[in-house]
Amino acid sequence: MAGKPLLEIKNLRKSYGSHEVLKGITFDIPKGQIVGLLGPNGCGKSSMIKSIVGLINDYEGEILINGQAPGVESKKVVAYLPEKNYLPPWMTPKSAINYMADFYKNFDQEKALNMAQTFELNMKQKLKTMSKGQQEKLHLILVMCRKADLYVLDEPLGGVDVVARDFILETILKNHAENSTILLSTHLIYDIERILDRVIMIKGGTLAVNTQVEKIRENNSTVENLFREVFSNVW
């Protein structure tokens, strides 16, 4: 019998004006799983993620993280990697690490400094002069050096080559806290299929699939095939 879920989403609805992007989604995620949040662009993935991490507050329904609605307490245990660069351009790896250490008690500063050294980041280089790859490495360090309960990673593999994707996945798998949950949004299913425990597919703002990857395999299928099946009529 599984314990209390880490993330509970009940009848989540979100509209932008008259356009409803999330149409009453309900699911929960237990502790210790790696969950793929899949769906084409515009299906409502980002709105859902933003609601979970506390960037969107005007939604209907209920979101609970460790039994608490998104707020100061939940933000202490949720590590979020947005799709875009969110650091000021004048920041350096050193100042960014200090910043995170100031605000998050569960941020492992020593580990972050070691990782920055391993990733060959110049600690005094300003973000605006860094390459996209270097910036992504820094973002990854800032998120994965937190001992979080829930890691929410929004398109961490987007816009990078296949070698970088492997590197990013390896970094995530090696560094996430024990018994933590990873919610990973992507459309690059092939690359992440091997690491997933569960997949959630969102189609047109509704929950299309919520199942264990093991069960998909038991039916002699793959996540990619299921994805094709579910979204075959989208294009």
């Binding site: 932008y16 506390g54 307490e73 949720v78 969110y86 000021p88 910043y99």
Partner: protein, 274 residues
């Protein structure tokens, strides 16, 4: 956590403001040193120094407004908002921290302005010797005429307090305008709408203040006979020569509180960061 927010807001704004005050301090030191040594103000360098110092003193208020507003837009509603809104801190703490830092820089600008005036007076005294000192004393005497030192102090404190509340109100008008401009209907052209809302809210606040100063008279009157301040309400207060108004500061406080809560509610409920 509030202390950490303050620290990082000072770091973010201090990069530009630090340069401004660095230049200001360097020019001021050069002038003071130069005048103290030569007792003259005859070189082109010194003249330029004075011009630069005066320009910085005036431009400082504009630079402060620009830095404070840009920092708020970028760190709260720009890409950096992804970081700000996912920190384990309350939205009101974010707002308070930004407001505190803004007030600090405005007060610094005000002090720099006073320092420039002080340096100018001192230089005048140094250059003109006894004659200059006499001129300074005469100027102070004109201001002081008919008023005791105590009342002058009360006046000075009152004006400083009024400046403080004006700064708080202006900051809150700016933050409110930026926040409304970042709600969904206006988000696409937020720069344009920020300017528009800044003007509209500014005009409304000015009109409210006009009404308050015209119709509400609460404050302290100075008696030349007893040399004391007495609390006064009503039209008598208006005709008094030495009247210290408290209706305007109270109105500014109420406006600021209203704008703070409106901004906070919008921030919490209506903002969708792009």
């Amino acid at each position: 956590m509030f202390g950490k927010l303050l620290k990082h807001d000072f770091i973010a704004t201090g990069r530009v403001m630090g340069i401004v005050y660095g230049v200001f301090a360097a020019v001021a030191l050069y002038l003071v040193g130069s005048v103290a040594l030569s007792k003259e103000l005859d070189s082109i360098g010194e003249m330029l120094g004075y011009i630069v110092l005066c320009l910085i003193s005036f431009a400082n208020f504009v630079v402060t407004a620009a830095v404070v507003m840009l920092n708020f837009q970028k760190s709260v509603y720009g890409d950096q908002g992804y970081l700000t809104f996912t920190l384990p801190v309350k939205s009101e703490s974010v707002l308070f921290s930004k407001m505190f830092v803004s007030i600090f820089w405005y007060i610094a600008a005000f002090l720099a302005f006073l320092a420039t005036a002080r340096i100018a007076l001192w230089s005048m005294g140094e250059m003109m010797g006894d004659e200059g000192l006499g001129l300074v004393e005469m100027l102070l005497g004109m201001v002081q005429e008919g008023l005791s030192v105590n009342v002058l102090i009360v006046y000075a404190v009152t004006y400083v307090i009024q400046f403080f509340f004006l700064v708080v109100t202006f900051t809150m008008i700016a933050y409110f305008a930026i926040t409304v401009s970042n709600t969904r209907p206006f988000q696409k052209h937020y720069v344009l709408f920020t300017i528009l809302f800044l003007a509209v809210v500014g005009i409304v606040v000015l009109k409210v203040m006009d009404i308050v100063t015209e119709y509400i008279h609460i404050g302290f009157n100075y008696s030349y006979v007893t040399e004391k301040l007495t609390f006064a309400v009503g039209t008598d207060a208006m005709v008094a020569l030495a009247h210290i108004d408290i209706a305007a500061p109270i109105a500014l406080i109420l406006i600021s509180v209203g704008l703070f809560f409106s901004t906070y509610i919008l921030m919490k409920k209506k903002i969708n960061i792009r």
